[in-house]
């Protein structure tokens, strides 16, 4: 931080970044510029909604039946047995409308959305910009008010859009059919696992093919969905260079192999150059290969599931294709498969009969429904609009700039004391990097989590990695194509400052966050059944000793 000069005479406050004036000037008319943003999140000390309001206040009034309707039917609930009628009203809070609004707006201010921060810290999540104009399409009543059982002739626009989006994603993946029904990435993984199961059932070998192989740096849902579907899971661990161990794969495959579920590039950002060889090994053993393309953002238009020989793949539309992450969904997943596996995809599909777009429910080999109706249609609308805004050249540009941004940020971050980039030393990364603060942890006793909490004091944050940690003291950054060079410089400067503090004033980091809405939580009750409180009712009974 040599280019930053603290203001003379002003002592930095613990937990607050130093400020600087313009180098070389003491002109009092020039406002000092902060070296780093002096962020402070909203801290409203907002109560729980159950502690607000008063009996008799109302947030909204629903319509009541017209007198003639009441005269005709009376009170239908009276015809029900007492056990099926609600006795005591639910103990919901009673608040006026503005009071409800204010409460939730305060909570929103106590939440740091991607629109408000340099959100490169949620690696693997592809926190790219979700264009505002695309939100306007889904708020239009011609999407928002559509009922999925409306006659197809009255929803030709949305059916055509879903059909077109399938064609676009077929080209992006190289696969023959794409289902847009899954509600998110993990639901898409489940869909692929279910398709794999249906494939082997149709071939009469469902019992024999009962093993699924995945890798330690693939998303945990690959392992978890396979297990939930009844498969035994074999996990390949990284070799010395960070690649999934190909010898371990050779040893693992056999007549029991149903499938390989693999991410590439993996969550380390390392592209496995032998991916086609992995696919050949599994195919030779009679298994199928499913490509988890959660990390596709760096390879759009560069390489596809088809060329690598995969039988199935999936995209997360809320990652690669820009739909907002919505605090954790609704999202959308897209499953691409070869023609051979297409009959098993969820039903219905959207088809064009030469005149009109129609729903094809008559798919006897289909695994059935994964989600009601056609999936999370608003996010299909957004993803379609995003692709149409960019086109082929724009998609490739997005990929290339995402990769440039990632390697630029890695270049900056690697210079920070205490951090390293494990595996494949000196090799480029695709669109994300899993860093390690092991050295810093050894030197200071602080952990990666501590640094992440301190980053919140500068108006951003980062994520470590999935568990169990394979890379010690991990931090995963994925800058996407959305962030400017200045954004990346600022983010790297924040990390550098946090690392400096870790070495020079570790208490500041150990007790962070200081400028967030709340301070460090005491997590012990979360694992103690006697006091954990998943609801106000539970909290009142267990912690406050009341009888709700």
């Amino acid at each position: 931080m040599t280019d930053h000069h603290p203001i003379a005479g002003r002592q930095p406050i613990a937990g607050e970044p130093e400020t600087t004036d313009r180098p070389g000037t003491t002109d009092p008319r020039i406002a000092p510029k902060p070296a780093l943003r002096r962020f402070h999140q909203a801290r409203w000390d907002e109560k729980l909604i159950f502690e607000l309001g008063a009996p008799g206040e109302r947030g909204i009034l629903p319509p009541t039946p017209e007198p003639a309707v009441t005269a005709a039917v009376g009170s239908p609930a009276d015809r029900l047995p007492a056990a099926l009628r609600r006795g005591t009203p639910p103990a919901l809070p009673e608040l006026g409308q503005q009071q409800v609004l204010r409460h939730y707006l305060r909570l929103s201010q106590e939440n740091l959305g991607a629109d408000l921060n340099i959100d490169v810290g949620q690696g693997t999540c592809t926190m790219k910009y979700s264009p505002k104009v695309n939100d306007s399409f889904v708020r239009d009543p011609r999407i928002a008010a559509l009922h999925p059982a409306q006659d197809a002739t009255t929803v030709q626009g949305v059916l055509e859009l879903v059909h077109r989006l399938e064609q676009l994603l077929k080209e992006v993946s190289g696969m023959d059919r794409v289902s847009l029904q899954p509600g998110a990435g993990s639901a898409a993984i489940w869909t692929n696992v279910s398709v794999i199961r249906a494939h082997f059932a149709a071939r009469g070998e469902p019992e024999q093919r009962d093993e699924v192989i995945t890798t330690a740096f693939s998303h945990p849902s690959n392992a978890a969905c396979a297990k939930t579907a009844g498969f035994k899971v074999i996990t390949l661990h990284p070799d010395a260079d960070g690649y999934p161990d190909i010898e371990a794969l050779r040893a693992a495959v056999g007549p029991r192999t149903a499938a390989l579920l693999i991410t590439n590039p993996e969550d380390t950002g390392i592209y496995n150059p032998r991916i086609a060889e992995f696919v050949r090994i599994v195919h030779a053993a009679g298994g199928l290969c499913a490509y988890d393309q959660a990390n596709a953002n760096g390879v759009l238009g560069i390489t596809r599931a088809r060329e690598a020989g995969f039988d199935l793949c999936h995209f997360n539309l809320h990652k690669t294709f820009s739909t907002p992450h919505a605090c954790g969904g609704p999202a959308a997943g897209a499953c691409g498969v070869t023609a051979e596996l297409a009959p098993y995809l969820p039903r219905p599909t959207v088809e064009f009969d030469g005149e009109r777009y129609v729903l094809d429910h008559d798919r006897p080999e289909s695994i059935g429904k994964i989600r009601p109706y056609l999936g999370v249609v608003p996010n299909l609308v957004r993803a379609y609009a995003w692709i149409m805004s960019l086109g082929a050249e724009g998609l490739r540009e997005a990929a290339e700039i995402a990769v440039l941004n990632n390697n630029y940020l890695m270049h900056r971050v690697q210079r920070i004391r205490g951090v390293s980039v494990p595996y494949a030393e000196g090799r480029p990364r695709v669109e994300q990097v899993r860093y390690s603060w092991r050295q810093l942890a050894e030197d200071t006793g602080l952990h990666s989590e501590d640094l992440g909490y301190r980053a919140a004091d500068f108006g951003t944050h980062y994520w470590t990695s999935h568990h169990p940690y394979v890379v010690p003291e991990p931090m995963t950054l994925e800058p996407t194509e959305s962030y400017s060079r200045a954004d990346l410089d600022e983010y790297a400067a924040i990390l550098a400052e946090v690392a400096r503090e870790a070495y020079e004033e570790p208490e500041t980091v150990r007790t962070a966050p200081h400028n967030s809405t709340v301070h460090r939580i005491r997590p012990e009750p979360l694992d103690d059944p006697k006091v954990w409180s998943v609801s106000w009712r539970s909290y009142r009974r267990k912690v406050l000793g009341e009888q709700p």
Partner: protein, 452 residues
């Protein structure tokens, strides 16, 4: 003449040529291609993707989308009688205001510090639903009501270690399809009619993990025998898993009040736009029984203290259950699902309060009763079982010449979206708080012309 400035895509700031060049120079790379060194030539796409030409400007994108949207009919609520799992209810303006806030819409999975608001809003959602459902544990939403039912059944299977699942009455075929896919190879499904004797007989075989029934069934009927199925399940050592439309619970008894172990359903009726089926989100709920809590795959947020007295903090309860913690050793899986719909449902319940929930339930019960009676007055139309109580959904049987498909088509010609065929001579209908007596009478008049 000034040189033309490149049209850098607004979503990709560093594609500005000078910026890109400077960044490459800063790293010491000549081209972006160097970063792709690990991707073998054989795997490289040797041509541009074949996609439509990009629209080039936001204005042209809006025009293109307008053309697509113009071919969708947003039906006035009084002319739409479609339900069956996705409903047109009033969405309070405050709900939209909150869920469209950037801070919520664009956040993802941060820590309980910079994302305190998300944790509190979702914990409050859990708590508001817990009051409505008369339970103490509600999950952060899963994808939809289908998945909620499927997961609740798998939870019951793990909690009991048993294999059979007894499904009572006729289920929505799509929901049944989801359940079938999800329990495939793990559980055996046993279908029984909605009669206590049939449930009793099915349980006599033993090894039943759960009895599944719905508070309002696939045809909207409230089954008066439902508490008996719950009791029968318990006598056989099985869990009772009961589906419920949460919007009905201001007037109908929450299933936990008559002993349901797990309650599940879809949040869409609670202030979420139908969005052609995009508004669905699932809930699973139970009492605070450690054995059941251990079986939830979903995140469960909990209230905890912080280092500063008086502050509420939040975190994950029993995180070690989840696939986030344990991969395949966790319970099923957890991932991005439908959290923002949970926040929407929370705002909705906070606005409605206890009296709003009772009133809207009464209105929908009254409208449904009125519609069933009024439409059954049409010659050639029968509502069946006039004493049964229905909530929102109901079916009509046609005794004349015309099929359900023909009648639905003729209704559409007259501007009514109603009567989706539920069989050769049966159509599905739905009314909500948005309908008026006149809307229902107009539908009756149209049916009278069509059916006779």
């Amino acid at each position: 003449m000034t040189a033309r400035v490149p049209r850098t895509h607004p979503y990709i700031p560093n594609s500005a040529p000078d910026v890109k060049t400077a960044m490459l120079a800063a790293i010491g790379a000549r081209t972006v291609e160097e970063f792709y060194a690990d991707i073998p030539a054989a795997l490289r796409l040797d041509r541009p993707l074949r996609l439509p030409e990009p629209l080039g400007s936001e204005a042209r994108l809006v025009a293109h989308m307008e053309e697509l949207l113009s071919r969708n009919a947003a039906v006035p609520p009084g002319r739409s009688f479609l339900g069956a799992g996705c409903y047109r209810h009033h969405v309070p303006a405050v709900v939209d205001e909150v869920v469209n806030r950037s801070e919520f819409l664009t956040a993802y999975a941060g820590e309980p510090y910079e994302d305190h608001g998300r944790f509190q809003a979702l914990w409050e959602y859990q708590s508001l639903m817990a009051e409505l459902l008369a339970v103490e544990v509600v999950n952060v939403p899963t994808y939809d009501g289908f998945q909620a039912a499927a997961t609740a059944l798998r939870m019951a299977g793990r909690a009991t270690g048993r294999r059979r699942l007894v499904l009572v009455g006729e289920l929505d075929p799509d929901k049944l399809s989801r359940i079938r896919d999800y329990v495939h190879g793990i559980h055996d499904l046993v279908h029984v009619p909605a009669e206590p004797e049939a449930v009793h007989a099915a349980l006599a075989t033993g090894d039943t993990a759960a009895v599944f029934a719905e508070l309002t069934d696939h045809r909207g009927r409230v089954d008066p025998e439902l508490p008996q199925y719950v009791e029968l399940a318990h006598r056989a050592g099985a869990l009772a898993v009961v589906g419920a439309n949460p919007l009905s619970l201001g007037v109908l008894a929450p299933p936990a009040s008559f002993g349901a172990d797990l309650t599940c359903g879809d949040l869409q009726p609670l202030g979420i736009h139908p969005s052609f089926g995009g508004g669905n989100a699932g809930f699973i709920a139970s009492q605070d029984d450690e054995r059941l809590v251990a079986e939830y795959p979903s995140r469960l947020f909990g209230l905890v203290p912080t280092d500063v007295p008086g502050e509420y903090g939040f975190g994950d309860v029993a995180y070690e259950r989840t696939s986030f913690a344990l991969r395949e050793e966790g319970k099923e899986w957890v991932g991005t699902a439908a959290a923002l719909h949970g926040i929407a449902a929370g705002v909705y319940l906070a606005l409605m309060g206890p009296h709003g929930m009772r009133e809207i339930g009464e209105t929908i019960l009254a409208h449904t009763a009125y519609a069933r009676r009024r439409l059954a007055e049409v010659p050639g139309v029968e509502a069946g079982d006039p004493e049964a109580v229905h909530f929102a959904d109901f079916t009509l049987r046609y005794t004349g010449e015309r099929t359900a498909a023909e009648i639905a088509a003729a209704l559409l010609d007259r501007g009514f979206h109603a009567g989706a065929p539920a069989g050769e001579r049966e159509g599905r209908y739905c009314v909500t708080e948005l309908h008026t007596q006149a809307d229902i009478d107009r539908l009756a008049a149209a049916l009278e012309e069509i059916v006779k």
